[in-house]
């Protein structure tokens, strides 16, 4: 055995190993609100089955990014594609409004930090979950009810409360209804905006556990925004660090948390209790 050996030449043009194309590709996303630049030239790729975390302080552009990816808002500049039959070659921002809404309903699920944004508080929980299927054209009450039940069960929501409206539920249960609603159409992409922020620590752990299990069982592709580095370490494979509307660093989760390169990321990681 030779240690400290001669140095054999190796090909310098080694190809990429990953042959699968990314599910999500966003390029050059730029967004202004009036004179304020909320996001500047942000690009990302997310591969099937991957969880990509987005971290940064308030105002860094994390939530703007999620709203753009959810097609709730349009960027000033930027291209966004999903590798899904029928829409593969299309820039989703360039679609007519009706088609864009169709893509959002069918292929993208979202869980907001604030359940009031994602739920109708006075409808029943099962009604909230079934709403997306209804919009997508399902009219059979029995089918809607069964789908809502399945989705709530997958989100580990207590089924004896499926007809209670979200306004009478705890924060943790409201997040489970949101999750069930997001999953009802079996979307290709799940967007999570601070899904456990504001929950009690013990409830946070159970919601995280549910997310981890669902991700594994359904091989879901997820973009997760969180300022909680513990949540990011638990769920994310890769991380984007945002500051002032720009991505300042990106990398594997353990590399970003254990060997941050950018001064801002070092600050962020070292500020963790």
């Amino acid at each position: 055995m030779t240690v400290i050996s001669s140095r054999p030449s190796v090909p310098l043009d080694a190809p990429r190993l990953q042959a699968t194309p990314p599910l999500l590709r966003a390029e050059g996303l730029t967004k202004r609100y009036g004179t304020r630049m909320a996001m500047h030239d942000v690009s990302l790729e997310v591969y099937p089955g991957e969880v990509v975390g987005v971290v940064g302080e308030s105002g860094s552009g994390k939530s703007t990014l999620l709203r753009l990816l959810n097609l709730e808002e349009m960027p000033d500049v930027g291209v966004y594609t999903l590798d899904i039959d029928g829409i593969r070659e299309r820039d989703l921002f360039a679609l007519p409004r009706f088609d864009r809404r169709g893509v959002q309903i069918k292929h993208i699920g979202i869980v907001y930090q604030n359940p009031h944004l994602g739920l109708r508080m006075k409808f029943t929980s099962s009604g909230n979950v079934a709403e997306r299927l209804l919009i997508a054209g399902e009219r059979s009450f029995a089918t809607l009810r069964a789908a809502a039940r399945d989705s709530l069960a997958a989100s580990e929501f207590p089924l004896d409360r499926m007809d209670d409206p979200p306004r009478v539920l705890s924060g943790g249960m409201q997040q489970r209804v949101q999750l069930a609603k997001a999953l009802a159409m079996k979307p290709a992409l799940l967007l999570l905006d601070e899904p456990t922020t504001g929950l009690d620590v013990s409830i946070q752990a159970t919601v995280l556990d549910t997310l981890k299990r669902l991700q594994r069982e359904r091989d879901m592709t997820i973009v997760l925004v969180s300022h909680d580095l513990g949540v990011i370490r638990t769920l994310a494979d890769r991380v984007l660090v945002m500051r002032g509307g720009r991505v300042v660093e990106r990398g594997l989760t353990d590399q970003i948390l254990d060997d941050p390169q950018h001064p801002y990321t070092q600050q962020l990681v070292h500020a963790k209790l």
Partner: protein, 244 residues
């Protein structure tokens, strides 16, 4: 191209690998190791030696890409092709971690409300195994490492250091790998678990698994060692100081 002649190439060829940490708030570089070169073939076992701070664990972390190498190359012959671990895309490193390269430490990162048994099963579940099959396999590993059966369903955050270590070793070793990076895996194990672990490593080596390891008690694995990477110097403020 990717797969040409891959059988004749070493599994790993490290060339002039260097790691410095740049700590922004200190405004300084902290050197760890510099210009390290070595090769590793299938089924070979390299022991990394050196004093505290010589960069033994950092070397393993650079190869796993938990640390970003500062310069140099680490060419790895994967089943998918030939790739430089120091510069590969994150998604490719993630793929290799799922399928080929394992990192084995003594420290467990427990997750709230996940049992010891399920933590060990997880790498197999992630790889698509059935629950029952994964459970059977995990139980065998926990048995081998001599973890008491009555704690298998417990949450490891309440375990002793030694018990956590056993869970972590089982979790790290349960899925088959082509390259194992071992960071003091035997450090505080009891005698039975230590012997069982060394036996498993010997068996993996026989099956062609390559290993690079830092060991607190190198005598445990003496019979497995094919070569040594000696980090005999530490780099301080850019100057190399020899310490032996």
């Amino acid at each position: 191209m990717a797969n040409e002649g891959k059988d004749s190439m070493p599994l790993l060829t490290v060339e002039r690998l260097t790691k410095d940490f740049h700590i922004d708030h200190l405004q300084r570089e902290i050197g760890v190791f510099r210009d390290l070169s070595f090769t590793l073939d299938k089924g070979q076992f390299l022991l990394v030696t050196g004093v505290n701070g010589a960069g033994k664990s950092s070397l393993l972390r650079c190869l796993y890409r938990t640390y970003m190498p500062s310069s140099g190359y680490a060419w790895y012959t994967s089943q998918h092709g030939h790739i430089d671990l120091a510069h590969a895309a994150d998604v490719d490193i993630a793929l290799l971690r799922r399928e080929e390269i394992g990192f084995v430490t003594q420290f467990l990162r427990p997750r709230p409300r996940v049992s010891a048994l399920e933590l060990v099963m997880e790498p197999l579940l992630d790889a698509g195994w059935d629950w029952e099959e994964a459970q059977l396999h995990a139980e065998t590993w926990l048995d081998t490492l001599n973890l008491k059966r009555d704690v298998w369903q417990g949450y490891p955050s309440t375990f002793s250091g030694g018990e956590q270590q056993k869970v972590n070793l089982a979790r790290a070793l349960i899925a088959e790998r082509r390259l194992l990076l071992l960071d003091e895996p035997t450090a505080s194990l009891d005698r039975i678990a230590r012997a069982a672990l060394v036996e498993r490593l010997a068996s993996a080596k026989q099956h062609g698994v390559a290993m690079i390891g830092v060991f607190h008690h190198p005598e445990d694995v003496q019979h497995l060692i094919d070569g040594e990477i000696s980090l005999t110097s530490v780099v301080l403020n850019g100057a190399v100081e020899h310490v032996d």
